[in-house]
């Protein structure tokens, strides 16, 4: 179904709240989808466009993607005194989310039960995800890199990780679909490296975002820098990152048809958000919605009239028919008031079921439902990128704190033969300075006013000097799957609704730490070339402090959750088939990062969106061919 361009940002009034549990219970849907994030929204959109009916069961409140509510998120963020990356969202114990501030050193065997994620260690992750309609894309940064061809068979090539049952060429057409939906700004000429290919004539929907002045200053030191590693030579340069935020449309897109950016989603026509304004607030919330969020896809799905949403509905159990192994319903707990644990329990039915609640929640729900798993891999192989930060002060004013959070970085060391020994990484240059590492600019202000007792013009001079010269390099390091890194549930730990909470055991693999150690030294060399003064310190008391080869590092979580229901070639060594269909339950699809056997060095969302498009075509076929009798709606 085609939409006229002008209506593409319209959210149908009341669409997120019109379906009651009673109405939903009386219907039998073609597809029941758990989770209204980017994965769930793509499936709802694709399947409803193909004529199927769908219901989305969403844990968070429902009005949220309309502009008024979006503005409320913004005000809450501005007024919050602790501005961590969940600050825009109201506290909701019934659909609680992890916050980075929850992270603290763990004592294995006696985990802390006061937060949503129960951390069983030994490593404590500060990773987060968001449980509101639209999911974690409400708050992501929006980097949209493809995986490298060599990322799909790292086990065969490098002896690390797992091979995918698919290759780059199988996914490439779906990457293009995802790039269209997410609205990616990039230039093909910049992205054709380490074997990544594009069909002839392909251009991204929008032109690449310009490199920041800070990137350009760093490039003066980095471009032409040579690294020799395991017999391979790498000539480093600063390259722009593909980003899911609105830039300048490329007139050559789609064979010359061009591309129309989708701006702010609202129940009425607004002009906002058609182009990024560089106000550097992408995480946790873009004030003008120039950055993609799943509400954009969801609005499209809702306009088909074939999609219902039940909100404030936390899926609590997957019902399975013991004989056939088929799923027979999704049970959920519906709360009226986020501050009260009071709830009612309901079940929705359909022909095909999709879990799209993210890698941790999908596994948690499967395990809490006690579903059998032939491979015993549900919840295992949990992955998330490991971030190593290193920061310095440049000798000159570089205009830090302008532009989107990150425009450029180093990508040459994502791939190569060295991956037999150590993890690859991508390096981000942070336009938001040391904020992630030290709490800048506030920490600097305090140091200058309270510590150095400066005021007036001295204060201003000191601030400019301190802020505009900040350089932070963030190394996003590959983490390979390990069965012992896992999500489990434990009857002792429940949320206020009585749902079992996710328990996480995680260790940063040595392979990744070897990459971190190499990255640390590389950053040192870059700082030397730039004449920058290193200010990096890692506190041994830090919750995420790890030691490797005689040095200690703080490792930050990447929020790229994956691996908990890996896809593969057989039911014995994987949880889903290449279509993300459960090997054990033929009408159940487990969708999202959880299906990815490895994450390489790309932020996972573009890939999981591509996989969602791919699954949508399989589900469409399955719905059309399956003889399963549809119960006619009794509405």
């Amino acid at each position: 179904m085609a939409f006229d361009i002008d209506s593409s940002a319209i959210f149908p009034i009341g669409a997120a709240t019109r379906t009651t549990p009673q109405i939903a219970a009386r219907k039998s849907y073609d597809v029941v989808i758990v989770g209204g994030g980017v994965s769930g929204s793509i499936l709802a959109d694709q399947l409803s466009q193909a004529g199927h009916s769908a219901v989305i069961v969403e844990a968070g409140p429902g009005k949220d993607v309309q502009l008024d509510e979006y503005e409320a998120y913004l005000s809450r963020f501005y007024a919050a005194s602790v501005k961590d990356n969940q600050a825009p969202y109201p506290f909701n114990p019934n659909a609680r989310m992890p916050r980075s501030a929850d992270a603290m050193p763990v004592t294995p065997q006696t985990p802390d039960d006061q937060y949503y994620i129960v951390q069983d260690g030994p490593f404590c992750t500060d990773t987060t995800f968001t449980r509101v309609l639209g999911g974690t894309t409400m708050h992501w940064e929006g980097k949209a890199l493809r995986m490298l061809p060599e990322d799909f068979d790292t086990a065969s090539r490098f002896g690390h990780g797992r091979d995918w049952p698919l290759g780059y060429d199988d996914i490439e057409p779906y990457y293009r679909q995802a790039e269209q939906e997410l609205g990616v700004s990039a230039d093909v000429e910049d992205q054709r490296y380490l074997g990544m290919t594009f069909p002839p004539g392909y251009v991204y929907p929008m032109r690449k975002m310009p490199l920041s002045y800070l990137d350009q200053v760093v490039a003066r030191g980095v471009d032409g820098m040579r690294v020799d590693l395991d017999g391979d030579r790498y000539d480093l340069r600063i390259r722009s990152f593909p980003q899911a935020r609105n830039g300048v449309p490329n007139p050559d897109y789609d064979g010359g048809k061009g591309y129309q950016p989708i701006g702010a989603i609202s129940t009425y026509q607004v002009e906002e958000g058609k182009r990024c304004q560089g106000n550097n607030n992408c995480v946790p919330i873009c004030p003008v919605q120039a950055k993609y969020h799943a509400g954009k896809t969801l609005a499209k799905a809702l306009r088909t009239g074939k999609v219902d949403i039940v909100t404030q509905a936390v899926a609590s159990r997957v019902h399975v028919d013991k004989e056939s192994g088929r799923i027979s319903g999704i049970e959920y707990k519906r709360y009226q008031d986020p501050s009260s644990p009071e709830h009612t329990t309901h079940t929705v039915h359909g022909r095909v079921y999709v879990l799209a609640a993210n890698a941790i929640e999908n596994a948690r729900l499967m395990l809490a439902s006690g579903l059998p798993s032939t491979s015993d891999l549900v919840g295992r192989n949990l992955m998330d990128h490991a971030y190593l930060l290193r920061w310095a002060l440049l000798p000159e004013i570089a205009g830090t704190f302008r532009g989107t959070n990150c425009t450029g970085g180093i990508t040459e060391l994502r791939g190569g033969r060295f991956r037999e020994r150590q993890a690859g990484f991508a390096v981000d240059i942070h336009n938001d300075g040391w904020g992630w590492a030290t709490g800048s600019p506030y920490s600097d202000l305090l140091a200058i006013v309270d510590g150095q007792r400066k005021h007036g013009r001295d204060l201003r001079a000191a601030l400019v000097s301190q802020l505009s010269r900040q350089l932070l390099l963030a190394f996003m390091i590959e983490v390979a799957p390990e069965p012992a890194n896992r999500v489990t549930v434990d009857r002792r730990y429940r949320d206020p609704l009585g749902n079992l909470k996710p328990v996480i055991s995680f260790r940063v693999p040595e392979y990744s730490l070897a990459g971190a150690s190499f990255g640390f030294d590389l950053a040192g060399q870059i700082f030397t070339r730039l004449g920058a003064e290193d200010h990096t310190t890692y506190d041994p008391r830090d919750y995420s402090y790890v030691e490797y080869a005689g040095r200690g590092y703080s490792i930050r979580g990447g929020n790229h959750l994956a691996g908990t229901h890996v896809m593969g070639k057989t039911r014995h060594d994987s949880v889903t088939d290449p279509a993300q269909r459960s090997w054990d339950h033929e009408n159940l699809f487990l969708v999202g990062g959880g299906s990815m056997p490895t994450i390489g060095t790309s932020n996972i969302t573009l890939t999981l969106a591509a996989l969602a498009y791919r699954s949508a075509s399989f589900i469409d076929t399955q719905l059309r061919t399956e003889k399963a009798p549809a119960v006619i709606s009794a509405r």
Binding site: L74, F77, Y78, A79, D84, N85, A87, R99, S100, D126, E141, M209, P210, Y213, C276, Q277, G278, N279, N280, N281, C282, V283, P284, E396, I397, A398, G399, F401, R402, G403, N405, D428, N431, D432, G433, G435, W436, G439, S440, P441, Y442, L445, L446, V449, H455, G456, R457, D458, R460, A461, L463, V464, S465, L467, S468, R556, G557, G558, N559, N603
Partner: protein, 201 residues
């Protein structure tokens, strides 16, 4: 006679290094005056205002125009030369056991849009107001925080400057290459800091 708001703005200019016009331009002066009054025991702000109005303090209100250059920047500094009477007045206030901490809280208020609670020793010695707790004055206040202007940037999530502006040299460099430039900078500058803690990727 100067009214209390004018006095407050003049003192704030001395403390923050931004010109009175720039401070008035944020639209926050009255709100901050009220917030400061509420957070302090009676009479303390007036004492501070008086100290800020002493002849040595008022002789040369800061212009706050050009963004001062970074000392490490080659090619001369906008801070060149001359004794600064305001600096002296400010130092006197800063050195005062009673007024110093209040002056620092006021600077932080202007820079962050948030009140920072005074030290416990101060409250024991001079009295405590129930509003003397850490708090963001309002969503507008956060956006108007001078820290963004001082960094040659603007608040995370507000007063954005425009697509691609981040690719050109920052205002701090431009002002520097034209020494002697005066006049109040418009608040719309490029870029903006993020204050989020925790991961972003």
């Amino acid at each position: 006679m100067e009214n209390r708001l004018d006095q407050f703005v003049r003192l704030s200019a001395l403390l923050t290094g931004f010109a009175p016009l720039h401070l008035l331009g944020t639209g926050m002066a009255e709100t901050y005056l009220r917030a400061t009054d509420a957070a302090l025991p009676d009479g303390v702000l007036d004492e501070l205002l008086d100290a800020g109005s002493l002849p040595s303090a008022g002789s040369a209100p800061p212009t706050g125009s050009a963004v001062p250059g970074a000392p490490a920047q080659p090619g001369g500094s906008a801070l060149a030369g001359g004794a600064d009477p305001d600096a002296a007045a400010g130092q006197a206030i800063f050195g005062d056991a009673k007024l110093g901490p209040v002056a620092r809280a006021l600077i932080l208020l202007w820079y962050r849009g948030a009140w920072t609670a005074l030290p416990q020793e101060w409250r024991s010695a001079y009295g405590a107001s129930p509003r003397d707790v850490d708090h963001v004055v309002s969503a507008e206040a956060y956006q108007a925080g001078l820290q963004w202007d001082a960094a040659g940037a603007h608040p995370a999530g507000a007063r954005q400057q425009g697509y691609g502006a981040w690719a050109s040299p920052p205002a701090a460099l431009e002002t520097e290459s034209a020494p002697g430039t005066t006049g109040v900078r418009l608040p719309r500058q490029a870029g903006a800091p993020s204050v989020t803690e925790g991961a972003r990727s």
